[in-house]
């Protein structure tokens, strides 16, 4: 199918009234999730995924995608007005956005964040539309060794790009792979690590695990701290940036879009990382780096563009290779599988209405977000004032409903609660959840790819050396494992993490 035919099909799919409605609901919920600290995008997508089971697959992904990029928009509002990131990817926006608010420039900060995200979103959609079909064609030649190499690279990168100890991150990866093995062996059907519990024969479901690790644990952490939210009381005037603001911001937005998109493509690369990279680059190349941290609009424009572009970049490996690059994409993978749509090289060929429908819907969604975020700022500010003691019971309730409704089993609720305690202890002792979840989801795929590779090569590891892409991926992974041993790189990584 050619580009124009695909676009035509996409327009016809995306502009169906039901899909427009789901897109709107998705971006609205996403913005709300982004505005409210306490529940992240992963938790929100996990909680709302069961609600999409009765929808057609394209509608489900339209809504979940809307939540994903909507949260990026919403996260900037709390960063700028409250100095608390509503979403992890908006941490960087706090540095300068809040300072701009204190200088009476909350309006331009919010405005440039929204416009920057909008431009980056369209850049990301254009890049997916160009790259994904080409990458899917290349991926037809991929076999188990290539997929194994890419997954190992993705898991290694997620440990290197994380903020904490790399040994702890690697332990989390290994643990995630072990938990991913719980259930029946994919080839022989032998029960593994089920301890006689029949409900575990199908393995641990991803949704309760994610909700526990990211939802319940977050509530436990927040409950034990006294949360103070100082909403900067200022009249938000003039949401449209002036000419000087645009002059300063346009290049950071362009750079942020490119950085965000390509970081997002890398398995393990996330919107958080892309926003930090963008901020570091803008500060490095700025003629006035001393202004950063004191209300430099470039410090808002670049990272906000980067985090939004990253959300679109992260969709490329999933749609073309079937490999999720982060937790949210792993949830998308689960949603697609539940709806009977297998992501990978054949997706665009076999389901063009799905791929192009989602692309066009994201164009519409970004426009909706610009309309939602700017005029409705006042409403979002009011919502921010809802005390946490009212919010957290609702978060818990949505987690419980979400966990139960996946399979209509109480054991999934119990799994979620156990992982909630686990996630709480992980946060206490500085272990990251991202590498664990990525490994948990990729583990079964990794094992299948490894075993198939060994069967093809009749037990020889040479297959990973003779296949160029597999070899390249594994060598890069090895380099990233060895980099922290170099003192100067270890110091830079630790400084970046701080």
């Amino acid at each position: 199918m050619d580009f124009l035919s695909g676009l035509q099909m996409g327009v016809a799919t995306a502009l169906q009234p039901m899909n427009l409605a789901y897109c709107f609901i998705g971006v609205l919920i996403g913005t709300l999730i982004g505005v409210l600290p306490g529940i992240g995008t992963s938790g929100a997508v996990a909680i709302l995924m069961p609600a999409t089971f009765t929808m057609p697959s394209v509608s489900a992904i339209i809504m979940l995608a809307g939540i994903y990029y909507g949260a990026m928009y919403g996260g900037s509002t709390t960063s700028i007005l409250v100095n608390i990131p509503g979403e992890a990817a908006s941490v960087v926006t706090c540095f300068d956005g809040y300072q701009m608010a204190r200088q009476g420039r909350a309006g331009p900060a919010l405005g440039i964040a929204a416009f920057g995200s909008f431009i980056a979103g369209y850049f990301g959609i254009a890049m997916i539309s160009i790259l994904a079909p080409s990458l899917a064609r290349i991926a037809f030649d991929f076999g188990p060794p290539e997929f194994f190499g890419l997954m190992v690279l993705g898991l290694t990168l997620s440990t290197f790009l994380g903020s904490g100890s790399m040994i702890k991150a690697l332990l989390m990866v290994a643990l995630g792979i072990v938990f991913g093995c719980v259930g029946s062996d994919p080839i022989s059907g032998t029960p593994r690590l089920t301890y006689g519990v029949k409900a575990l024969l199908d393995g641990l479901d991803m949704v309760p695990v994610v909700m526990g690790l990211f939802g319940i644990s977050e509530v436990l952490i927040n409950l034990e701290q006294q949360e103070k939210r100082d909403i900067y009381e200022t009249k938000i005037r003039g949401l449209l940036p002036n000419r000087e603001d645009w002059r300063k911001s346009i290049k950071p937005i362009a750079r942020g879009s490119a950085i965000g998109f390509f970081v997002g493509i890398i398995p393990g690369g996330t919107a958080v990382i892309s926003s930090f990279v963008s901020y570091a680059i803008e500060k490095r190349i700025s003629r006035h780096p001393e202004e950063f941290g004191h209300g430099a609009i470039e410090g808002v424009a670049g990272p906000e563009a980067a985090n939004n572009a990253a959300t679109f970049g992260s969709m490329v490996p999933l749609l073309t290779l079937g490999i999720p690059s982060n937790v949210v994409m792993a949830l998308f993978l689960a949603a697609l599988m539940i709806h009977g749509t297998t992501p990978g090289p054949l997706l665009i060929q076999n389901h063009p209405e799905f791929f192009w429908g989602v692309m066009i819907s994201m164009i519409v969604g970004n426009l909706m977000l610009l309309v939602l975020n700017l005029p409705l700022i006042g409403i979002w500010v009011k919502i921010l004032k809802v005390p946490y003691k009212i919010l957290f019971p609702l978060i818990i309730l949505f987690c419980l409903i979400g966990a139960y409704s996946v399979n209509l089993r109480v054991i999934d609720v119990a799994v979620m609660l156990i992982f909630g305690i686990f996630g709480y202890l992980m946060k206490k002792y500085e272990y990251e959840g991202g590498p664990f979840i990525l490994a948990f989801i990729l583990g079964p795929l990794l094992e299948t790819a490894l075993r198939q590779s060994l069967i093809i090569s009749q037990g020889g590891l040479g297959i990973f050396v003779t296949r160029p892409l597999a070899l390249t991926s594994l060598l890069i992974a090895l380099l990233f494992l060895l980099f922290p041993l170099i003192p100067s790189i270890r110091t830079k990584r630790e400084k970046f993490a701080e």
Partner: protein, 153 residues
């Protein structure tokens, strides 16, 4: 901090050993024909290696400021919350979605943070009604009726 790291590394080491043992129990097979325990065994070995590295690192790491993990934190709220949630899971089918969730919400609104009874009751009632309408009626998710079965039958 170093003592905590060493204890953690020892726990990881023991866990890795257990996982490797489980892998052996499940049969490793051969590289030509790997069996169910193959990956699990090697993950156990990797965990043991990493735990050894973690242990050694604790000797060479620069002493950081002691992290305040438990002191001054209201972690008893978390314990109460988890007990309530496990109890909720235990009675969910018997009481049913509406009743068990209502009582849970009442506890969450009133039992962990200071809140007036009137507000807690109102919020619990409104929340459960909205949830029932959205999830059960509109999204047609099946929840157990429990003790209210005669009403919903």
């Amino acid at each position: 901090m170093r003592k905590t790291d060493r204890i953690q590394s020892l726990i990881w080491g023991l866990f890795g050993l257990y996982i490797a043992f489980e892998g052996v129990q499940l049969k490793l097979g051969t590289p030509r024909a790997p069996k169910p325990g193959f990956l699990i065994f090697w993950m156990g070995i990797i965990i043991m290696i990493l735990s050894a590295a973690f242990f050694l690192q604790s000797f060479s790491a620069v002493q950081e400021e002691k992290k305040i993990r438990w002191k001054g934190r209201q972690w008893s709220k978390g314990i109460k919350l988890m007990l309530a949630l496990f109890l909720y899971a235990a009675v969910f089918h018997w009481l049913g979605f509406i009743l068990s969730t209502f009582f849970l919400l009442l506890f969450l609104f009133k039992g962990l943070e200071p809140q007036r009874w009137g507000i807690a009751l109102l919020l619990s009632a409104v929340t459960i009604i909205i949830c029932y309408l959205v999830f059960s009626v509109f999204l047609e998710l099946q929840f157990p009726p429990g003790l209210l079965r005669p009403i919903f039958a």
